[in-house]
């Protein structure tokens, strides 16, 4: 029996979560999800043109997603689920469920990557040799993964405190330190390895060969929707969300651009060996600045930044999927919450699947192309999520024009088409070019690559439709179960 869809999402039932989040905490959730030190050396190889690439990402994605998030989050402050609630309001349960599931499954594919980053960066602080030991890698990965899951267990109050302190320690302080050292380098007469600045130098080289990089740049700022998952725990969502979005976007943009430039000023591009990881660049940077003793503490801070980023992505979409379960779109097991209001069943299932995938990731013999395909799948799944968000933003202006919007994107219908249209165009473009194989693939490998990415993306996006087909009336419960 199919359960008919409601046009408006049901209000959350059962436990009312404590309102513990303010502007700062919300902003830090977004900063934790988006700001990453490991982006800086990777982008610094582009020299002055990294500014152009960042501007492309900012105009086509960071600004549209921040505005869209602010409008949608303030429109649905009484509903949990973030992306799920937004897309459900516009496209019904099917649209909302597909959006949140794509975000969740994207996470599961991405977890081993960020966990490996955490383990290899920490190894640098202890002994780089450890990074070559799969047992060490897997052990640290699991401690970080299950530890973060344990923090999520204790609910919003604890996890937001962890994120607030963690993001300052692991993302903002290292970024400010790198910027400060870059400025010191500049004003103390250190040789700047970049060619002299000219406006033309910031224009990125855009041709067929650089198109695939577009997808990467567009999603550089992915995660700005993360605060939206915490609507029910926010004290004054109507006023806090827009401010938090603006604060986080500004912090992320300035830290990212200036820290990247600081690295590009100091390290010659031929010395930026990204194959050896972000710490190689940090080591070079701090050695050049005559403070090599700061390298190991910096590795620890960057590790903390990685854990905090993991926490932001681990908790948000799991909460969204918890709301899906609460509404009876998943079997009742998924609707288990603990006394802190955390979606325990989703968190545990997520941790089990993530553990298994990490096990394959670390212990299978090197399948280099497989890693590349998995990265491509994460890009494609995220593009689906963001397309649905931008489409929801536009659609809701037509289907619910009079719904209260404490924050409204200015410019009326043209304004919404400009913002939503630009974001949607960017992610469609990113989806398309994300399928382009790199030059080292033979033609048969290229075909396998495209089929593999599309098939994998499809498989990870389609389960909501199957769950909704199987949906039973007894899956709907009046209140979330504690267990």
């Amino acid at each position: 029996m199919e359960v008919s869809e409601e046009t408006t999402a049901p209000k959350p039932s059962g436990l009312t979560p404590p309102k513990v989040l303010g502007i700062f905490a919300l902003a830090m959730i977004n900063v934790a999800a988006v700001l990453s030190i490991r982006n800086f050396p990777s982008m610094a190889v582009y020299g002055w043109s990294c500014i152009g690439w960042y501007l492309i990402g900012t105009i086509l994605f960071l600004i549209p997603i921040s505005l869209a998030g602010a409008e949608l989050a303030t429109m649905m402050t009484d509903r949990g689920g973030g992306v799920y609630a937004w897309c459900r309001e516009a496209f019904g349960t099917k649209g909302g469920f597909v959006a949140i599931f794509c975000e969740w499954s994207n996470n599961l594919v991405w977890f081993p990557t960020v966990l490996a980053f955490i383990a290899s960066t920490l190894a640098f602080a202890i002994s780089p040799e450890l990074g070559a030991n799969p047992v060490y890698l897997f052990t640290v990965m699991m401690i970080a993964f299950w530890g973060t899951t344990a923090i999520a267990y204790f609910g919003e109050d604890i996890s937001s405190k962890f994120q607030n302190y963690g993001v300052i320690l692991g993302s903002i302080i290292p970024s400010v330190l790198i910027i400060g050292l870059g400025l010191w380098w500049l004003f103390s007469g250190g040789a700047i390895v970049l060619p002299p600045f000219s406006p033309a130098a910031i224009v990125p080289q855009i041709d067929l060969s650089t198109l695939p990089f577009f997808a990467t740049v567009i999603l550089l700022f992915a995660g700005m929707e993360m605060a939206g998952f915490h609507a029910l725990e926010t004290r004054n969502p109507e006023s806090d969300f827009p401010k938090a979005m603006a604060i986080s976007a500004i912090i992320i943009f300035f830290c990212t651009v200036f820290a990247t430039l600081a690295i590009a000023f100091v390290i010659p591009v031929e010395q930026l060996n990204l194959a050896a990881g972000v710490m190689q660049a940090i080591e070079y940077f701090f050695t050049a600045a005559n403070i090599p003793q700061a390298i190991a503490p910096m590795a620890v801070l960057i590790t903390i930044g990685g854990v905090v980023s993991l926490a932001a992505w681990l908790i948000g979409p799991a909460k969204g999927l918890g709301v899906v379960a609460e509404e009876g779109n998943l079997p009742p097991l998924f609707n288990r919450t603990n006394k802190y209001g955390s979606p325990m069943a989703v968190l545990i299932i997520q941790a089990l699947i993530g553990t298994f995938i990490s096990l394959l990731y670390v212990f299978l013999p090197s399948v280099n192309q497989a890693y590349w395909i998995l990265s491509a799948m994460t890009v494609e799944l995220l593009c689906i999520v963001y397309f649905l968000i931008f489409a929801s933003l536009i659609r809701l202006r037509y289907s619910k024009p009079d719904a209260p919007r404490p924050f409204k994107i200015p410019g009326g219908i043209p304004g919404i088409w400009l913002v939503g249209g630009m974001g949607a165009f960017a992610v469609i473009f990113a989806f398309t070019v994300g399928l382009m194989p790199t030059g080292d693939f033979s033609s048969s490998q290229a075909v396998s690559y495209v089929i593999g990415v599309l098939l994998g993306t499809f498989l990870l996006a389609v389960p909501p439709l199957i769950f909704l087909k199987m949906k039973k009336p007894e899956w709907i419960e009046t209140a979330p179960k504690e267990g």
Binding site: P212, A275, I349, A370, A376
Partner: protein, 162 residues
């Protein structure tokens, strides 16, 4: 009494149904995440580890008609790295590129380096460069969109076949 029994049986049936739905959902989810992984592992093959003699990159550049401008010795700060070279190459149009190679002491350390590299994604996207594996060597080309990758990759493939 009969009515009560009937209600209880219905309740138990409902619980059993929910229980089987729970298990079915968990198995389904696990499978749905395993299938793509399994499929990817099937369509891609693990890179064998074997000693490579000479300089595979220099030979590949020669085969692709690319000039080697400069070569510098370098050792990556990762476990098991035994040294390699950083090449500055110039193509027919005069564009220069930097490509790095590194020799590893075991398949384990080489694969760990591949994992470390794969974790260096930009945002939620892909890493900036691309690693090519040739036996005990890793060849790193950055950015992955560079034209030189198209030219040099087929030549490196030949080195793999030797």
């Amino acid at each position: 009494m009969i009515a009560l029994q009937s209600v209880t049986q219905k309740g138990l049936k409902g619980k059993n149904k929910s229980g089987s739905a729970n298990w079915a959902a968990i198995i389904f989810l696990i499978l749905i995440f395993l299938i793509p992984f399994w499929a990817i592992m099937i369509i891609t093959t693990a890179e064998p580890y074997y000693p490579v003699t000479g300089e595979p990159l220099r030979e590949a550049a020669k085969g692709a008609g690319i000039t080697v401008v400069k070569v510098v010795d370098s050792t990556w700060p990762v476990g098991g790295a035994m040294g390699g070279k950083t090449y500055t190459l110039s193509d027919a149009e005069g564009s220069t590129y930097t490509i790095m190679t590194q020799k590893f002491d075991s398949a384990k350390s080489r694969d760990a380096a591949v994992i470390t590299f794969s974790a260096q994604t930009v945002g939620r996207g892909k890493p900036v460069g691309k690693l090519i594996i040739i036996g005990n060597y890793l060849v790193y080309v950055q950015p992955f969109t560079s034209k030189i990758l198209n030219q040099i990759a087929p030549e490196l493939e030949k080195a793999k076949a030797v």
